[in-house]
Amino acid sequence: MTTLEFKNVTKIYNVRGFGQIKALDEVSFTLRSHQTIGLVGQSGSGKSTIAKILTQLETPTRGEVLLDGAPIPRGGKGLRKYRQQLRMVFQDPFASLNPYHSIRHHIERPLRLDKVVPRDQLDDEVRRLLLRVRLEPDAVMERRPHELSGGQRQRVAIARALASRPSLLVADEPVSMLDVSIRLGVLNLLADLQREEGLGVLYITHDLATARHFSDEIMVLNQGKVVERGTADDVILHPHDPYTQELRAASPDPEEFFRDRSARTLGGVR
């Protein structure tokens, strides 16, 4: 059981000629394994700043991040160990894979660096991971990223994230660059892996509908502050905060749209 605590984190960016921007304002939450938290909010609300702090690409101005009660090491082996526990799946599978390297290389690298398996088992482990994300090892292993479709690339990125056997996964808009017809497949895959491996997942998105279906809990972020949190259905179906209500109203919802419309037409007729 791994527990990640985000305690009263404030992040202030100093922008030249602009002054200070408070990207995060006293944000606290706890992510545990076996749990998916959805993080929603519009562009600029601070979602990605949270991801950057979690991966230690940025450090908090105030507050702290604790993994199983211990602060994140600033560098060296400790930091590598921390990052082995927490992995990231990025938004753009066209940019997050190196065009010069084969798929095998992408997945072997974390295996080698983190010494997950002995050298002679590298090949088997790469195959196992590719099968895990429902890719045919022999068909993709020696290929380069450009030979794969967007959905296949994102699956490779997921396999790479899983290679170090992390207990926590941060998925920053993992499907927003993919074609609609395959988005659900990739999300279902993530949900299956989350269940089977007992991962704790932070699902960052601006799509309320998928956040609701794939998260246990949802946090709504507005201008660096958590304005609402609760179980997924509570937050989306019965939002209390005006900002959450606004987000909900702006999301396309054919169900409600046509219900309202038929109610209106009926009212007009009778």
């Binding site: 519009q42 609609v180 998928t210």
Partner: protein, 274 residues
């Protein structure tokens, strides 16, 4: 009661590569005056090729292999787009049919002000206008799309994504066209900005009465904004119906599978397949 603005008959486009790819296959559809028609389908289904093809905007190796596109002008004249000469075509484009391109971030010139870019439209298409008139028209456009005339000297990078998309809409609106083709106009924007832009599009449509061909793969969004929706697959329209019919009574198997690939915001949880 039909009043078609654009009649597309048996329209086909082939990409003449080896082996040739039939990107659009025998598409027939009428766009009515003042309606919003949604074109939905996955990448590669031919929706963008169709929208570009009817304006003769495709480059080789694309070849239009069959079909007619007739534009029924508001002044009563029928224009066969395929028979227009080079100069006539140049005049026709943007004046009668304009476009809002995908990704406003990249569609604007980064090294000139938005005012100058809007000014260009009038400079080319309305040579009789003088500098003062053009400037007034540009300010007017920026006011209409609620960017504000004060932004006339702003560069694209000084505007947010939503504002840049509004500038693109202003540009498309400049000559008061009768048809606007919008190719994924809100895909890169977040939900709140997207909603504002959509509201603005329907409001402008009511005000100016133009028709819209709205291309996107976001079916929930399309259901809300369109009057009719054409579902495309492998270059063909597999289903064409009002958005209400598409939602409540889809006929084609593919339409159903497309609908079921979107999780529902408020519908029953877990029930993704209808």
């Amino acid at each position: 009661m039909t009043d078609p603005l654009l009649s597309i008959r048996d329209f086909s486009v082939v990409y003449d590569v080896d082996p040739p790819v039939a990107a659009v296959k025998n598409v027939t559809i009428d766009i009515e005056r003042g309606e919003i028609v949604g074109l939905a389908g996955e990448s590669g289904s031919g929706k963008t090729t169709l929208a570009y093809g009817i304006q003769r905007l495709l480059k080789p190796p694309a070849v239009i292999t069959s079909g007619d596109v007739v534009f029924h002008d508001a002044d009563g004249e029928d224009i066969d787009i395929n028979s227009l000469g080079v100069e006539e075509m140049r005049r026709f484009r943007w004046d009668k049919i304009s476009m809002v391109f995908q990704g406003a971030m990249n569609a604007l010139n980064p090294v000139t002000t938005i005012g100058a870019q809007l000014d260009d439209v009038f400079l080319i298409h309305r040579p009789e206008m003088n500098r003062t008139e053009r400037r007034a028209a540009v300010v007017d456009l920026l006011e209409i799309v609620k960017v504000g005339g004060a932004r006339i000297r702003s560069y694209p990078h000084e505007l947010s994504g939503g504002m840049r998309q509004r500038v693109m809409i202003a540009m498309a609106l400049a000559l008061r066209p009768q048809l606007m083709v919008m190719d994924e106009p809100t895909t890169a924007l977040d939900v709140l900005v997207q909603r504002e832009i959509l509201k603005q599009i329907s409001q402008l449509r009511h005000e100016f009465g133009f028709s819209v061909i709205f291309i996107t793969h976001d079916l929930p969004l399309l259901l809300e904004i369109s009057d009719r929706i054409a579902i495309m697959r492998e270059g063909a329209i597999v289903e064409l119906a009002t958005s209400e019919q598409i939602w409540s009574d889809p006929e084609h198997e593919y339409t159903r599978s497309l609908l079921s690939s979107f999780p529902r915001l408020t519908g029953e949880k877990g029930v993704v397949v209808r």
